[in-house]
């Protein structure tokens, strides 16, 4: 096992990895930018190094700086988390060059899977079903429009280097295609430094179902069953669950075997995820492979009892997988909800500000993976995901109720969050029935910008009581003497605590 691991990330995933390291007796080094000085991952790590400027390119994406730090602190491995440099082959290569183990697959595999076009071609050759589309080299708008017409509408424009919905556009008719190509290219260029796009058939009632795999460096590969990730907004997952309500034992076996075949086809090692699209007839197509730990990995951990982060460390340090496919049992039901600082009523617009109060639900089979704290400033520098809440129960119905219970006790004040929105999705009749597709939110929550919640009576009463408790009687008197015709003055003044009345 490694002696010292540098964690090249921030937020909840950095916290998750540091804890996994520490439990295995591995020393940890956190890196952080100026705004993250007080962040939980910094507090938790055994050592921590400041990278300065919060701009990602100057800090968490700064390969030379991170490599330099890793050498200086004497790290023997780097864990990249997800996002940032997790799927950057240059970073993995740079680690190799200085004999620091990159905790992930080889940079060649990252490179191959990072190029969505090459990845699909490779998979097609290996006999894996892929979605009809254009993955060619002709990248001028005219050629792309021609190819798009061949595939037919609706279709997807996707960044070749993309992931997490970035650089992705859905186009319903020919006349919007040109603009979508421009926009996808621009976003892709800005996010990944590469503006290659490809086109793909858009499926009917599609579900996003992915399989978790673990592969060691000795050729052993297992899969840990599926995750249903169809609930998405802006092409980003917000609710994931396992098992999928649509899965059958036969389909699970077939897709699981395919996921293992995908990993085998490229000589994969590390934890990884093979993403599939499923249509309404349960035909499945390889979409892409994520060569890292996923945001939603905890639901697999809860249903299989296997610690994926620890296995990443064990595999990277050369250990063999001791778990056999037949020994892995999927048990009960797990859901993850991603809590974002965003306003669902305004098109999921990110919300910035200071977290005035944070309170987290606790209880058996409730897991909270978060990197936030009361007083934390949410800046526009990084992804607005604040936390992930994961629940487990014996079956799906019970678990949906459990998650609603937990979300109803998740208190974040100071920024607008999607917590109430997540509850509305979970409470939706079609969700409860398991009738979900990647269009679920567009289909059922189109009117979300209109239907704003009114302030409930209980909240009004609470405010009135609170203000009544905390007004300074002195102040009221003083105002009366000064200006008896303006009864509002004193209520404008608020106090932070009610100590005077105690």
């Amino acid at each position: 096992m490694f002696k010292k691991v540098l964690v090249a990330n921030r937020g909840e995933i950095a916290v998750r990895i540091i804890k996994a390291c520490q439990e295995l007796g591995v020393n940890t080094v956190a890196i952080y930018s100026d705004v993250d000085k007080k962040a939980p991952h910094v507090q938790l790590a055994d050592e921590s190094i400041c990278l300065g400027d919060p701009t990602p390119i100057q800090s968490y994406l700064n390969i030379p700086k991170i490599i330099k730090v890793a050498r200086e602190v004497g790290a023997d491995a780097i864990h990249p988390g997800y996002g940032f440099l997790a799927e950057n082959p240059d970073f993995a290569h740079s680690c190799n060059d200085i004999s620091i183990k990159f905790i992930g697959p080889s940079f060649k595999v990252i490179s191959l899977m990072g190029d969505k076009i090459e990845a699909k071609k490779t998979m097609e050759k290996a006999g894996i079903p892929v979605i009809p589309g254009y993955h060619g080299a002709k990248q001028d708008n005219k050629s792309l429009i021609e190819e798009g017409k061949k595939i037919g509408f609706p279709l997807l424009v996707k960044a070749a280097a993309g992931g997490g919905g970035k650089g992705m556009r859905i186009v319903h008719s020919e006349d919007r295609l040109n603009e979508a190509i421009d926009s996808a290219k621009r976003e892709s260029k800005s996010a990944f430094g590469d503006d290659t796009v490809f086109l793909e058939k858009y499926l009917d009632k599609p579900r996003h179902i992915e399989f978790q795999i673990l592969a060691d460096e000795h050729g052993n590969i297992i899969h840990l069953f599926e995750r249903e990730c169809s609930i998405q907004r802006r092409h980003q997952k917000i609710i994931e669950e396992t098992p999928s309500p649509v899965m059958t034992p036969q389909l699970r076996k077939k897709m699981g075997d395919t996921a293992v075949a995908v990993a085998k086809a490229v000589g994969y090692s590390n934890a990884g995820t093979v993403e599939f699209m499923i249509d309404k007839n349960l035909n499945f197509y390889f979409m892409e492979m994520n060569t890292r730990l996923q945001v939603e990995h905890p639901i697999t951990e809860m249903t299989t009892g296997i610690d994926l982060a620890k296995w990443q460390l064990k595999i990277a340090s050369g250990e063999k997988l001791t778990i056999k496919q037949k020994d892995i049992i999927q048990r009960g039901h797990a859901i993850e909800c991603r809590i974002y600082a965003e306003n669902p009523a305004k098109g999921f617009l990110p919300s910035t500000g200071t977290l005035e109060q944070v309170e987290v639900p606790t209880g058996p089979n409730i897991r909270d993976d978060s990197g936030i704290y009361t007083g934390m400033k949410i800046t526009p520098y990084y992804d607005p995901m604040l936390a992930k809440i994961i629940t487990y129960a014996e079956n799906r119905d019970e678990n949906i109720n459990k998650m609603i219970w937990a979300l109803s006790r998740y208190i974040i004040m100071g920024v607008t969050t999607n917590i109430s929105f997540l509850k509305k999705v979970l409470e939706h009749e079609e969700f409860k029935k398991g009738n979900i597709t990647t269009h679920f939110i567009d289909n059922y929550f189109k009117d979300r910008t209109v239907a704003k919640d009114r302030l409930p009576v209980d909240a009004i009463i609470a405010l009135a009581v609170y203000d009544s408790m905390h007004k300074k009687s002195q102040e009221v008197v003083r105002y009366k003497e000064v200006d008896p015709h303006n009864p509002w003055k004193h209520v404008g003044r608020w106090r932070v605590s009610g100590q005077e009345e105690k």
Binding site: R234, K346, T354, G414, A464, V465, G498
Partner: protein, 162 residues
């Protein structure tokens, strides 16, 4: 005590009187007689008839947050005189919805645009936001150029309706 609370552009007019151990709260022509206790700073336990309501209140700089019935609501206190009425903000909005960086400016002074044309692209938190024309018109002024930092609520473009 009279207070007006503003939430999502709606104003709630509330009267509170404290007598003996009760609070009498009048809202929307209904009087609620409640008992209340502050368990911890900001954490209230309120008895409304047979019901127990738990609420948490935190004060921000210019607003309060109240947690009740499992949700958080952001509330402002407003004065009654009308001096501080909620703005009619939603209408024909060309202000930036977010603090971020201007990554693309599609128009210049004098440009003639159609409803829904993209005027400016703003990037924040790794996502793009498009400022679209709310009506057909002529651009009178462009307030930002590429790579400028823009704050939430700042006007992006001045657009004369055609």
């Amino acid at each position: 005590m009279f207070i007006n609370y503003e939430h999502e552009n709606h104003v709630y007019n509330v009267t509170t009187t404290r007598r003996d151990n009760y609070y009498f709260i009048t809202y929307d022509n209904t009087e609620y007689k409640v008992e209340a206790e502050e368990i911890k700073p900001g954490q209230l336990k309120i008895k409304i008839g047979d019901r127990i309501v738990k609420a948490i209140i935190t004060e921000g700089k210019t607003e309060k947050y109240v947690f009740a019935n499992g949700n958080v609501y952001k509330v402002k206190q407003v004065e009654l005189t009308g001096r501080k009425k909620p703005k009619k903000k939603e209408q024909e909005d060309l202000s930036s919805p977010i603090s971020g960086k201007v990554v693309n400016v599609k128009v210049k002074k004098g440009s003639i645009v159609k409803k829904d044309d993209v005027l400016m692209v703003i990037e924040a938190m790794k996502m793009e936001y498009l400022i679209r024309a709310p009506y057909n018109g002529t651009v009178k002024k462009v307030n930002f150029k590429e790579n400028d930092q823009i704050e939430i609520g700042e006007n992006t473009v001045e657009l004369e309706k055609k």
